[in-house]
């Protein structure tokens, strides 16, 4: 196999010789002595990680709101006009995935409503070009968590409980802590299952 080619199990050919096994093996048996750099790295790495955690956190609240391709305001839609969350995120009541509304659904209203506004024109642009809108994802769980919207909607958990007061936000950001701690405390309060496989499988 050529170097830098990807082998049958998708591993990079890397620096292995041309005739190396396709069943790649890390060089477990190479006996390199611990260099000073390595020792420093071993001490430094946990420190760096610790600082990273202290500074940010994937499921922690986040104050920054990323700019979306269209400056969509939840404050106007969900706040001022009091449109129900489930009107647009309609799959939340029947599927694990809440999803984002189709462009067609947006256009259902905006063909007429506020059609002259610059942001709505952007929307019309996507619709005319037959392009989906590449929204930036704000809320999410890691791959080892199985979260179901439908189960929570059926249990009358308010959307705000996890998503924060989006009806007050022009640009949505993650205002609520989405760590396992929060899941568990709510599950305990509501006497919902705290079995590991309820969420991890």
């Amino acid at each position: 196999m050529m170097q830098n080619e990807i082998d049958m199990f998708g591993r990079k050919g890397g620096g292995r010789p041309v005739d190396a096994s396709p069943f790649a093996q890390p060089d477990r048996h190479s006996a390199r002595p611990l260099s000073v750099f390595r020792i420093i790295a071993i001490i430094l790495l946990p420190l760096v990680i610790f600082i990273t955690i202290a500074e940010s956190g994937v499921f922690r609240p986040q104050n920054e709101a990323p700019a979306q391709p269209i400056d969509f305001s939840h404050k106007i839609h969900a706040g001022t006009y009091r449109i129900s969350c489930l009107y647009c995120h309609t799959n939340a009541r029947r599927s694990p995935v809440a999803g984002v509304p189709s462009v067609q659904r947006c256009m259902g209203c905006h063909k007429i409503t506020a059609a002259d506004r610059p942001e709505v024109r952007k929307l019309k642009g996507y619709w005319d070009r037959k392009e989906p809108i590449p929204w930036i994802k704000i809320f999410g769980q890691p791959d080892f968590v199985a979260f179901s919207h439908v189960a929570h909607v059926r249990a009358h958990v308010a959307c705000e409980d996890c998503h924060g007061p989006v009806q007050k936000m022009d640009r949505v950001h993650r205002a609520v802590d989405l760590t396992m701690d929060r899941c568990l405390s709510c599950h305990r309060d509501r006497q919902a299952s705290i079995d590991c496989v309820t969420c991890h499988r």
Binding site: M8, A20, I53, V58, P96, K137, P142, A151, C196, V197
Partner: protein
């Protein structure tokens, strides 16, 4: 900082670094432009279609999520397989997502290299050639596999439009001897229905009906039903042949006979039955003629030729005659050897004189395999190609360069054909010789239909959008015809193949259900997977002249000096077409437990005589060709016979099948064994002139060792009572004694017992029904995102399968009984893995599941060391899925990374889904509603899953069955899996 906090930090730290990387390219949410009505994101949509992995034509349901197929299951409405699939069917997804699929049209340039070109250019190029050929009235040939329905008709029509009619439906296993023998005896060139279920005794003369013969999923189901124990009785099964195949390993008795002598045994049995007056329903006049034909096959003569004692032959004959009804099947080596037609004729005669024809052998519904082209047509084609009569050869999904004997000269003959067009999904040995390659859809992406048996019309629909820029063969044919001339365009008025298919189904609609609207009929057929009609058997009578003719080929054998090589279709790869599916390569052969390889099975005494030991690389030379194969010592072949599985030895079938890609330098610096098809003779069998799957060979030891990757521990149980059995007599005598050898139970416990307030999930596995077919293993790979690790890792014992089929041998070393036992996590109540986990990554939940929390696991592997069943699997590496195989991943199951332990979860994602559904509908979970992937696909329903807290559930009932036992019960692990002992009928013969 305490330990818990430390791990918390470590976990979050890891995640933070990950987001650190990904924050530069934020994850996007891409909405639908216009939502698709039938798709709810996150909810599965199922489409019914037909499995095309072999000619059996099982109904299949494809589970799609967000528009991609993630799992296939059998269609419960389809009469062939009733909801079950075999290992090959389960792996059909890896055909769809195979990374080696051809992604664009390819044209061979002057230097012999394939160059990609656009669809438009490719079609234009071909249309010009076709126009020329038609103007010059040149002959075009179409070679397809077993094909029925609309596409089959369209190809014939297409050929006609171009003024040709040579059309071959080619399968390496064409059941020609069966067809010809039936033609001679009963005047019908057909493959009949075999009713295994109503038989009391089955004699298989070489037929591997549990593996690859005709319709293995259907026969497995019928076989299990026939073997079911009821009121002291069960159906019995005797296998007669030179090799102990998987089917033979499931028999009560394997009668080992030299290859080619099966017909004499059948004839000898007929003679005994007539001589002792045990025949049923044979007219007097016929009886005398038959008697005259079989008179020379005296027990003494048969004994001389086969080694069966005369007493044994008589006992076998009496047992068969007593069975009312019985069933004798001829197939496999017996049906593809030198005396194949005569053998099948003798087996038919045995059925005839015992009155089974019309009862367990019925000529209706007939299998559509009856329509396969005979081997002699292929021979004629090769001749015509060599004579330059063929101007263009079109083929689709057939690989004759691989599956014909090399001495047949197909490959050389292709050099004399100026235009060769391959319309298939994969590069293979035959496609590599093509001028133009037009990549077509796989069966999961196309419309189509399939009539596997008379009256069973299966309908195929695309389960998803095409993965690559391929085209359906039907549309391609229409487009080519239209491009090549105006008159053709007038002849083919259909817009698309979909319209061709609907027109054919309009005819069917008029014939079978004219009272309903066509659209209703059509949509019902789509939802159901087809239209299934009853067909009544034809009345047939014996043609004595034909019988006499067939018997003239039945010869008395001399003992051959040479070793005879028998080839058998591999249960994993069939005729070689499964070799590019990584799941099927990783799946151990159920008998040898070898993976990723082919081998030569040789009897230990022969091996000793020839100074061969396990793993020696042998040169196998037949009069026609020579290949290399590693030796595997096995008492499963008789002395004087060696056997090799068919399917490996590809040279151009993608990264998983190609020995050069895999093993050139990786594992022992030796190639995987060659293609044994190459060794076969071209001279066909005397009667049917079909392909023979046997050849005389000589072996030379190269002196090199070839490492075989086996997943087998010991073949013997060493008195551990893992796969237990009970005799029929003991079972019938009321309360059988429980095997107490292992039951010196000390039930004292350190911990309080677990409470299961609502459910206690459990499983019952009937070892009397398990045939070892391994469909469950592949289903589990598909459902649970289990990675493929490759041969070298397997040899290091790092396989990842959550369920495995263990095979043990019992009794005498040279003629052992075989037992299979599916081994998976036992979900012990007293699980040894749980207390040793330092981070609580494995623990017991309130429903009795032994759960594994991947995000907690730190990979100490203590649990695996402490598991007595050895069912825990450790991810030594992160094994990626080469694109687009990753599209098959089940989103409901976490994909594990290196350093994490994993194991069977009882398909917890299905349990959760089942509970959620019941909760939504405001009712308790119904018994049988939650089915794990292994139980779902089991062709014999050997695996039953359910709630042990519900006393009325099937699993509760089975766990009190008199045959119940639990594996390694003396360890007091209190498993949730109850096994039911295999029943060994009393040997009367």
């Amino acid at each position: 900082m305490n330990r818990r906090d430390f791990f918390k930090l470590l976990g979050i730290g890891g995640a933070a670094t990950l987001t650190g990387c990904s924050s530069q390219t934020p994850e996007r949410l891409i909405p639908y432009l216009v939502p698709v009505e039938e798709i709810i994101p996150g909810q599965a949509t199922w489409y019914a279609t037909v499995c095309r992995e072999c000619p059996a034509g099982c109904g299949m349901l494809v589970k799609t999520l967000e528009g991609r197929a993630v799992k296939v299951e059998g269609n419960p409405d389809h009469p062939v397989n009733r909801g079950r699939l075999c290992a090959r069917g389960q792996a059909s997804l890896q055909g769809l997502y195979n990374p080696d699929r051809i992604r664009q049209p390819l044209l061979k340039d002057a230097s012999g290299q394939f160059k990609p070109l656009s669809w438009h250019d490719a079609e234009e190029w071909l249309a010009i050639r076709l126009k020329e050929l038609r103007a010059q009235r040149r002959e075009i040939v179409w070679l397809t596999p077993h094909l029925t329905g609309a596409l089959d008709q369209l190809i014939d029509r297409w050929l006609q439009a171009f003024g040709s009619k040579r059309r071959l439906r080619y399968e390496p296993f064409a059941y020609e001897a069966i067809k010809v023998a039936n033609k001679l005896l009963f005047g019908l060139e057909a493959v009949p229905t075999c009713d295994l279920q109503s038989s009391q005794l089955i004699f298989s003369f070489g037929s591997d009906f549990l593996e690859t013969w005709i319709s293995p999923v259907m026969y497995s189901r019928e076989f299990a039903a026939m073997r079911a124990y009821e009121a002291g009785r069960m159906g019995r099964f005797i296998f007669i042949g030179p090799r102990r195949s998987l089917t033979a390993a499931n028999a009560d008795r394997w009668v080992s006979v030299p290859p080619g002598s099966e017909g004499m045994i059948a004839a000898g049995m007929v003679r005994v039955i007539i001589a002792e007056g045990l025949w049923r329903g044979v007219p007097k006049g016929e009886l005398d003629r038959i008697k005259g034909l079989v008179d020379r096959y005296t027990p003494y003569l048969v004994s001389q030729a086969t080694g069966i004692t005369p007493q044994d032959l008589e006992a076998l004959a009496r047992a068969f005659a007593e069975a009312d009804p019985g069933l004798a099947l001829g197939g496999g080596a017996a049906e593809s050897g030198r005396y194949a037609t005569a053998t099948v004729a003798a087996v038919n005669l045995l059925n005839y004189v015992t009155g089974n024809i019309g009862r367990t052998i019925r000529f209706g519904p007939l299998s559509s395999l009856s329509r396969l082209s005979p081997h002699r047509e292929l021979a004629t084609l090769i001749q015509a190609m060599n004579d330059g009569e063929i101007s263009a050869l079109f083929f689709s999904e057939v690989n004759p360069v691989f599956s014909l004997p090399r001495s047949a000269g197909f490959e050389q003959a292709m050099d004399n054909v100026p235009l060769i067009v391959s319309c298939g999904s994969f590069m293979d040995e035959t496609t590599a010789k093509a001028t133009l390659v037009l990549p077509t859809h796989t069966p999961l992406e196309t419309w189509g239909d399939d009539e596997s048996w008379e009256g069973l019309y299966g309908l195929m629909q695309p389960a998803m959008e095409p993965v690559f820029e391929t085209k359906p063969l039907g549309d391609l044919l229409l487009s080519l015809a239209k491009r090549s001339s105006d008159s053709q365009a007038a002849a083919f008025t259909e817009e698309s193949f979909y319209e061709v298919l609907r027109n054919r189904w309009r005819e069917l609609h008029r014939r079978v259900r004219p009272e309903t609207e066509f659209e209703t009929f059509w949509s019902e057929a789509l939802a159901r997977g087809g239209v299934f009609q009853e067909t009544h058997p034809r009345r047939i009578s014996l043609n004595l002249g034909g019988l006499a003719k067939a018997f003239q080929w039945l010869q008395t054998l001399g003992r051959p000096d040479n070793l005879i090589l028998l080839l058998y279709p591999s249960i994993n790869h069939f005729d070689g077409r499964g070799a590019n599916r990584p799941w099927l390569q990783e799946l151990p052969d159920p008998l040898t437990q070898l993976t990723w390889d082919s081998w030569l099975e040789i009897h230990p005494e022969d091996a000793q005589r020839l100074a061969i030991s396990e793993g020696d690389l042998l040169k196998v030379r037949s009069p026609y060709e020579e290949i290399e194969l590693p030796a595997h010592l096995s008492t499963g072949v008789r002395q004087g016979t060696v056997a090799a599985p068919i399917g490996q030895g590809h040279t151009a079938y993608g990264r998983y099948a190609d020995p050069d890609d895999l093993n050139a330098n990786g594992f022992g610096e030796k190639r995987r064994g060659g293609n044994p098809f190459a060794l076969l003779p071209v001279e066909p069998d005397g009667g049917s002139r079909g392909l023979r799957l046997a050849a005389p060979v000589t072996l030379t030891n190269t002196g090199m060792k070839y490492p075989l990757a086996s997943v087998s521990g010991s073949v013997r149980q060493h008195n551990r009572g893992i796969a237990q059995a009970i005799s029929l007599a003991e079972l019938g005598s009321g309360e059988p004694e429980l095997d107490t050898r292992h039951l010196q139970l000390d039930t004292r416990q350190m911990y309080p017992p677990h409470e299961h307030p609502v459910h206690r999930w459990g499983m019952a596995i009937d070892l009397n029904a398990c045939t070892g077919c391994s469909a469950c293993v592949v289903a589990c790979y598909a459902e649970n995102n289990i990675p493929v690790v490759g041969k070298e890792q397997l040899a290091r014992g790092r396989e990842m399968s959550w369920i495995r089929i263990e095979r043990f041998e019992e009794g005498p070393v040279d003629r052992p009984g075989t037992r299979f036992i599916p081994m998976l996590c036992q979900h012990c109540d007293n699980a040894p893995c749980e207390p040793v986990c330092p981070v609580y990554a494995t623990l017991h939940n309130s429903e009795g599941l032994n759960i594994q929390v991947y995000n907690r696991c730190v990979g100490t592997r203590y649990c695996s060391n402490n598991c007595p069943y050895k069912v825990r699997r450790f991810n030594w590496f992160t094994y990626p899925w080469p694109e687009p195989l990753h599209l098959q991943l089940n989103p409901d199951v976490t994909v594990r990374e290196s350093g994490v332990m994993e194991k069977c979860t009882f398909c917890v994602q299905r349990i959760t889904a089942g509970k959620a559904k019941a909760k939504d509908e405001g009712r308790p979970v119904r018994d049988g509603e939650i089915v794990p992937a292994c139980a779902q696909t089991c062709p014999t329903s050997a695996i039953v899953f359910g709630d042990l807290k519900d006393p009325t559930s099937t699993v509760s009932r089975l766990s009190h069955n008199p045959r119940r036992y639990r594996v390694l019960e003396h360890l007091n692990t209190q498993p949730a899996i109850t096994y039911l002992k295999k029943i060994i009928p009393d040997s009367e013969q």
